[in-house]
């Protein structure tokens, strides 16, 4: 049988899926994002059973299924648990240009890490266990990007 690809051009359809969604932030998410937006404060929740402070906050402890205490106030600084520098930028995805990365950051007072952007660092400046601090956006609207990114704390080892 002849290979049809040799005599015909393969037709390929273009498409795009674009569906609007809304996601409820729920009780702890609403309080958390409001505190970021209005007061530049980070809130966590604490499991009374495990004595673990969750950040980002959780209604219920995923470990023991106990309702968490709301809220524990956390610092705007913390430890870089792990990190990467994003060398490939995907324009529709990346909220930052220039040199930036991602980190799992454990804020002072929290027992769990969370994901955020890293910027304002020199090549080789990011280290596991290093100190980082939040840089807030001037215009804040109640989203995680109310913190523009985290950057290394200068002059601290």
């Amino acid at each position: 049988m002849d290979d049809w690809r040799e005599s015909q051009e393969i037709l390929v359809m273009d498409g795009r899926i674009k569906v609007p969604y809304t996601w409820s932030a729920g009780e702890v998410g609403t309080s958390y994002l409001e505190a970021l937006r209005d007061e530049k404060r980070f809130l966590g929740t604490r499991c009374p059973n495990c004595d673990i402070v969750y950040h980002v906050p959780r209604m219920h402890c995923p470990d023991c299924f106990t309702e968490c205490e709301r809220y524990v106030e956390l610092a705007g600084q913390g430890e870089l648990v792990t990190w990467t520098v994003a060398r490939r930028h995907y324009p529709p995805l990346s909220p930052l240009g220039g040199r930036f990365g991602y980190g799992v950051i454990k804020l002072d007072g929290a027992d769990t890490g969370f994901l955020h952007l890293l910027a304002e660092f020199e090549e080789g400046e990011l280290v596991t266990g290093g100190r980082v601090e939040a840089v807030f956006a001037d215009e804040r609207e109640g989203s995680m990007l109310d913190v523009k990114y985290f950057r290394p704390v200068k002059g601290v080892e």
């Binding site: 990467t84 529709p92 995805l93 930052l96 799992v104 994901l115 952007l117 596991t128």
Partner: protein
């Protein structure tokens, strides 16, 4: 567990882009190959399961859309989201339930969409997604955590890439057979430190299928049945910050369960071959530790020693692994199929001598959140 066997396997050739084939074409090819391998016809099949991912396929309930290509009319059907190891486990459960013989097929066409946009969408829409994180940057966070904790080097990760791309040269269905060195991997560009281009599996198109039968039915098939000796799965936290990313607790738990079923107490001594997730090179190292083939942090040195090479004590990813052929979700089923071929002695140029017991591993979710382990063997 009651004896259940894989009695037929079928794989399409994996390529960067199979532009001339629709998803259904790939599924049909894999299913007909698996049926032919088992010596059965579609009328001998009672159960049809499919696996796919809606975002990859660009349609909802995508696994139902390929049911025609699996010959599913009038049969007991279901769909299993996620990696092929998990779907195949559901196939085993249906066979164990006494519902008959099962044809299970998984497909993936990575070429038809934009991988980072899709993997970005697996992250939490409130807290994580619009940071732009996707599979490569997330895996880089895990690689850094693991390497910093145990002092594993980028060269040790690179050695995985060298070994597996080399094995792919012996596998006719593999996508990226390469003769490369550790220096080549080290010189490839960083995508997200410490992950470089040659540490990553490619974008791939392909489909695979298996036929799974009870012991009663397996004795009538034409080929040599390969027996399911044990299956285990386990899940870790979804949010990356809730986990110790340097460890693979979920894999350890899954392996413990599968090994318990199979009577394996000394994995290094009792397992002859392993097909593990190496979508990123560091993952093979973490997987070897989670599967108990060495202590935590020891897999880099184990790899450099040559123990996991084709001629080594425990060949790992003799097929070339996902780093050489990466149809996402299909990869776990391909690990199972490679184990089947090896146990049967049908692996061709990459056949390992005397494989009595083989282990396959599959993962689901960001940074190996969920883990599935299979033990396969030649005797019921």
């Amino acid at each position: 567990m009651e004896p259940v066997a894989i009695v037929g396997v079928g794989m399409t050739e994996v390529k960067r882009e199979r532009a001339a084939d629709t998803v259904a074409d790939l599924v049909f090819e894999a299913c007909t190959k698996a049926l032919a391998d088992s010596g059965m016809g579609i009328d001998d099949i009672d159960i049809v399961l499919t696996g796919s991912n809606d975002f990859f396929d660009g349609r909802t309930i995508s696994s139902m859309a390929v049911m025609d290509a699996c010959g599913s009319y009038d049969k007991n059907v279901s769909t299993v989201e996620g990696d092929g190891t998990f779907g195949a486990a559901h196939a085993v459960m249906r066979v164990l339930a006494g519902w008959g013989t099962c044809l299970y097929c998984v497909h993936h066409k990575g070429s038809e969409s934009v991988m980072p946009l899709i993997t970005n969408a697996m992250f939490d829409p409130l807290y994580e997604r619009f940071l732009g994180i996707e599979a490569v940057t997330a895996s880089a966070l895990q690689a850094r955590a693991y390497m910093d904790r145990y002092g594993v080097t980028e060269q040790q990760c690179a050695a995985v890439s060298v070994k597996n791309h080399g094995n792919a040269r012996l596998n006719p269905v593999a996508q990226m057979p390469l003769e490369i060195t550790v220096d080549d991997v080290m010189a490839s560009p960083y995508l997200a430190d410490p992950i470089k281009l040659l540490d990553c599996g490619p974008i791939s198109d392909g489909a695979s299928a298996v036929v799974i039968a009870s012991a009663d039915r397996a004795k009538d098939v034409s080929g040599r049945p390969v027996w399911v000796k044990g299956i285990g799965y386990s899940c870790d936290a979804f949010h990356l910050g809730d986990r110790d990313l340097s460890k693979v607790d979920a894999l350890q738990a899954a392996a413990k369960k599968a090994y318990g079923d199979a009577g394996i107490t000394d994995p290094s001594g009792q397992v002859d071959l392993a097909e593990v997730n190496d979508a990123f090179s560091y993952m093979e190292l973490m997987s070897l530790e989670g599967l108990g083939f060495c202590e935590r942090g020891g897999a880099g040195a184990l790899t450099e020693s040559g123990a996991t090479a084709l001629g080594g004590k425990l060949p790992v990813n003799a097929s070339g692994g996902c780093i050489s052929s990466n149809p996402v979700l299909v990869t776990g089923l391909n690990s199972i199929i490679e184990c089947v071929l090896q146990v049967r002695g049908d692996a061709g140029d990459h056949q390992v001598e005397g494989v009595g017991t083989a282990v396959a591993q599959g993962v689901n979710g960001p940074c190996g959140q969920s883990q599935c382990v299979w033990v396969l063997g030649g005797d019921a």
